[in-house]
């Protein structure tokens, strides 16, 4: 109890943080000088077979068989006005509540054993850039499934008493592991719900389910047509950054303009993750007060040109096969004829 009395008795007892007096005299609370952007990271290499996939341009998205290894280059940049020693390392990540979240510190996923960066420490002068490399080696006995990680870049916290701050920036890793080809990606837009936020602005929330074998990052837009008096509105962008884990169903929200009449509207939502696209329509009416209308089942819209890219390849394959068989049979009958002729002689 003596300790307790001491705590109560102190006049200005709890000094959470003492004034630190850092040697540079700089203040984190003060505004940064103009043009001092900060610490940056960027992916420099992407696989050729994902050239059309915008996700693969900003994150490491790959499928590896157990026992396989890949390396990818990335770039660190110092856009501040002072020299920095950047620490770079791999941490694990999780998908939680529709968000891709890098775990505190390094986390404890398997990816920590599989992925290594070189060099781990990069000194950079102001406005300087440098490349580093990550090597991801999947062990032969790795079980199939997706693993998530982040390649982080950070500067060590300034020493001193008080609240140390670390601001880090990272590249996401979506690594699928398994034998054979990559698990197919797919998703379904299940319902559209018209809502009104407490501040009076209408919004549409779609329930989207990931029915494929890989995590997805949603982007897309909403178009409103057939409104009151034949009005049309949009396209309105969907909130980006919603990450769907495999098997998960999460809301994807589209914020709309306050001036929109209540409806009814024919709403068409186009969503995409990488090169995979899905569209759905539903007739919705925005509630008058801040609330959510009942969800409306969304009717899927067939994608234009779906599967078109595979058709010539398949047709060509069949044609070539027929050609080879034809030549084979022709030469076979020719040989038979010749054989008959020789045996007749």
């Amino acid at each position: 109890m003596g300790r307790r009395r001491f705590a109560r008795g102190a006049v200005c007892a709890l000094i959470l943080v003492m004034s630190a007096g850092p040697p540079l005299g700089a203040s984190a609370a003060g505004p940064q000088a103009a043009g001092d952007a900060g610490l940056g990271i960027r992916l420099v290499e992407a696989p050729v077979d994902r050239r059309d996939d915008p996700r693969a341009g900003v994150s490491i998205v790959d499928h590896l068989a157990p026992g396989r290894t890949i390396t990818r280059k990335y770039e660190l940049s110092n856009d501040t006005g002072q020299p920095l020693t950047i620490r770079t390392y791999v941490g694990s990540a999780v998908i939680r509540g529709g968000e891709f979240v890098g775990e505190d510190g390094v986390g404890n996923g398997e990816i920590l054993q599989w992925a290594q960066v070189t060099p781990g420490s990069v000194p950079l002068q102001p406005r300087q850039k440098a490349q580093a490399r990550v090597r991801i080696a999947v062990p032969k006995d790795a079980s199939p499934g997706e693993r998530y990680g982040v390649i982080w870049a950070e500067t060590p916290p300034v020493p001193g008493s008080g609240i140390a701050q670390v601001n880090r920036i990272g590249l996401r890793i979506y690594l699928s592991v398994g034998p054979g080809g990559e698990p197919a990606s797919n998703f379904v837009i299940r319902t559209l719900t018209a809502t009104r936020t407490p501040d009076g602005a209408p919004a549409v929330t779609a329930q989207v389910s990931n029915t494929g074998g890989r995590a997805l990052d949603m982007r897309g837009e909403l178009q409103l047509t057939n409104g009151p008096g034949g009005l049309s509105a949009g396209p309105f962008p969907a909130k980006l950054g919603t990450t769907l884990a495999t098997g998960a169903t999460e809301p994807v929200t589209v914020a709309l303009d306050r001036a929109l009449p209540a409806g009814p509207w024919k709403a068409r939502l186009d969503l995409a993750s990488g090169v995979l696209k899905r569209s759905a329509t539903a007739t919705i009416t925005f509630p008058a007060a801040a609330a959510a209308a009942s969800p409306v089942a969304a009717a899927p819209v067939p994608q234009k040109g779906a599967g078109r890219s595979d058709l010539p390849l398949i047709a060509g394959g069949i044609l070539a096969l027929a050609l080879i068989l034809g030549i084979g049979l022709a030469s076979l009958s020719l040989l038979r004829k010749r054989a008959r002729r020789t045996s007749a002689q």
Partner: protein, 186 residues
């Protein structure tokens, strides 16, 4: 009749080989081949240049609130459909020189709340920034997310932290680390 049999086998082999070449390479392992991504500009996060002092409060006050300083994220890529998310988390705050096995000498991250405050946006880009407060900083959770339609943008916010103090909290200086983590979604 030995010749035709041999030939049939050869024809079969040729046709399967042809199929192998022409069929879509479903299981093909092409992850080794890469191309180079070029970009003049980047997404960056500001680098803290000092520790932060939240000031002091009486041990009996119950809470202590203070500003953490400005966090600035610049997306200079000027791309269509840009998105990034910042998460925040905290370590335990430990009494300097204290016995950190005793609850009254530690402020747990579950007792630390994060209020992002009002964000300021500069630059020509259009889009929305959604700031989210946290009632606990024990696990990394989003505090700010940008969805851009087009153009470059700089977003700054000055979060404030609120420490909930125990009734028996020991007086002294407490140290810990707050981490902001930025990843780009698009």
């Amino acid at each position: 009749m030995r010749h035709p049999k041999l030939l049939t086998l050869a024809v079969l082999a040729a046709s399967t080989a042809g199929l192998g070449v022409l069929a879509p390479a479903a299981g093909a392992d092409t992850s080794g081949a890469t191309f180079t991504l070029t970009a003049a500009n980047n997404v960056t996060i500001s680098v803290p240049t000092s520790t932060v002092n939240l000031g002091s409060a009486a041990a009996t006050a119950g809470t202590l609130t203070g500003s953490l300083g400005t966090v600035t994220v610049t997306d200079a890529r000027a791309k269509l459909a840009a998105a990034w998310t910042v998460t925040a988390s905290s370590t335990e705050f430990l009494l300097a020189g204290g016995d950190n096995t005793k609850a009254e000498q530690v402020v747990a991250p579950t007792a630390i709340a994060y209020a992002p405050g009002t964000a300021t946006q500069t630059g020509p880009g259009t889009g929305t920034f959604v700031a989210s407060p946290l009632t606990s900083m024990a696990v990394a959770a989003p505090v700010g997310a940008w969805t851009g339609v087009a153009g470059s943008k700089t977003v700054s916010w000055s979060p404030s932290l609120t420490f909930a103090l125990g009734a028996n909290q020991i007086a002294g200086t407490y140290n810990g680390t707050i981490t902001h983590s930025l990843t780009v979604a698009s």
